[in-house]
Point group: C2
Chain length 282, copies 2
Amino acid sequence: MQVTMTITAVRSAVRQARQQGKTIGFVPTMGALHRGHLSLVEAAARQCDFIVVSIFVNPTQFGPSDDFNKYPRPIEQDLAICTEHGVDLVFAPSPQEMYGDEVLTWVDVERLTGPLCGSFRPGHFRGVTTVCAKLFNIVLPDVAFFGQKDAQQAVVIRRMVRDLNMPLEIVVCPTVREPDGLAMSSRNQYLTAEQRGQAGTICLALEHAEDQIRRGVRDADTVAAAVIGILRQVPGIEIQYVSLVDAESLQPVDPVSGKVLIAVAVRIGSTRLIDNIVVDAH
Amino acid sequence: MQVTMTITAVRSAVRQARQQGKTIGFVPTMGALHRGHLSLVEAAARQCDFIVVSIFVNPTQFGPSDDFNKYPRPIEQDLAICTEHGVDLVFAPSPQEMYGDEVLTWVDVERLTGPLCGSFRPGHFRGVTTVCAKLFNIVLPDVAFFGQKDAQQAVVIRRMVRDLNMPLEIVVCPTVREPDGLAMSSRNQYLTAEQRGQAGTICLALEHAEDQIRRGVRDADTVAAAVIGILRQVPGIEIQYVSLVDAESLQPVDPVSGKVLIAVAVRIGSTRLIDNIVVDAH
């Protein structure tokens, strides 16, 4: 496995792989790799010949009060995991390599970045779309893989790729969960043992919502209220949003119909956790 | 020469050219081709094997009071010119092919789009950068060619390409001028015979400014005032700006030093004309 911090080396390695007739699969990450990331690497390995993983804690997607400084960076462990899982190339650039002295150019997706996490993390998605545009232009993959856990991110990236005619396919892989249902996240390690015990409630609440819809409940507020009721059983939980939105347009749906994204963001202590489930309400 | 209105056909033709080992040169235009455009096609032919010209009057770079509807669209004549000059592929998409029903994603370059034309044409450069990002992703050229006549556009596009790590080179070619010095522009055809006679004054004013700097004048206001004085000899001229800025940062320079862009925008009647000259003030 090749590891590089430079854009030039990535371009050169990918060019060489492509000259050998290989297709390029790309998994952009912020490191602190868990089984969620690995499911993306495995999907990439099934679909592509040459697997590139980027590890970059992207400063432009963190707000001033976000956890940029404390975000975990276990680079040696991440590299070992990538080696074990047959990754061909890891790109782990410095912020300087990615952004130089100053960023003047931004890629912005309107409307889809407004609701859900967008209203709690101003500028977050602009940072995500900009860094993904850069990474796509550096790696030039045939396919890039994202997790459904970050549902809004996946919708926004898909739209960016479509709107800007970027020459790659976006594949979104299912959320990988702990045995109690907690969605895999690098931020789970911030949780105390007690908080970790409580965090499984998020998934339970989403499953309850899915169950309600399957049983025929179509009033969005009723479903949301039930989710909120379950989440409130966690002491000290702060609910940022519980939203039922169209899974593509991210606009509120009420009554519930079509493919509905039920998305939740909470804080448990100082840790922000998000999760979601998509239900087909036909 | 192949002519197509579809993105799919462009991708396929370019892929085929690339498989034959050809390098791809790209000249994005809004049509109404003149000798300025042809100098770009000729530069592309010198540097690249397969020449793509796009002809697209891009609605997103026109403001509500701009000349989008009346902008000339002599497509048959343009195609004849391209055929004569050895263009391999003309991409002439409809707005629907380029933008579908709705644009949500924009590429924005900060600061560089603020001064000069940016302050008179709000949203213009966002439209330019977005359509260029799209066209670059569709054509995937090795080199794209722009004219120095649109100096701010060239600086903005270069910066976008650099900031977003777009995998292509930008070449900026010298302004091509009429015998009396008027910079070639598709908008020159809006001018009445009388206005056309007067429009040569713009270039004379810029040459005077260059002359002043070469003779040692370093006070930017003195140079600008002289340019304004000459331009005002044109009856009914409306001067939008006469600016002396650093040729890369586009920030005002006073006293004049380094590579200085002297940029002018005026209206003669209802026709907006821009021109510029770069002077090395060492």
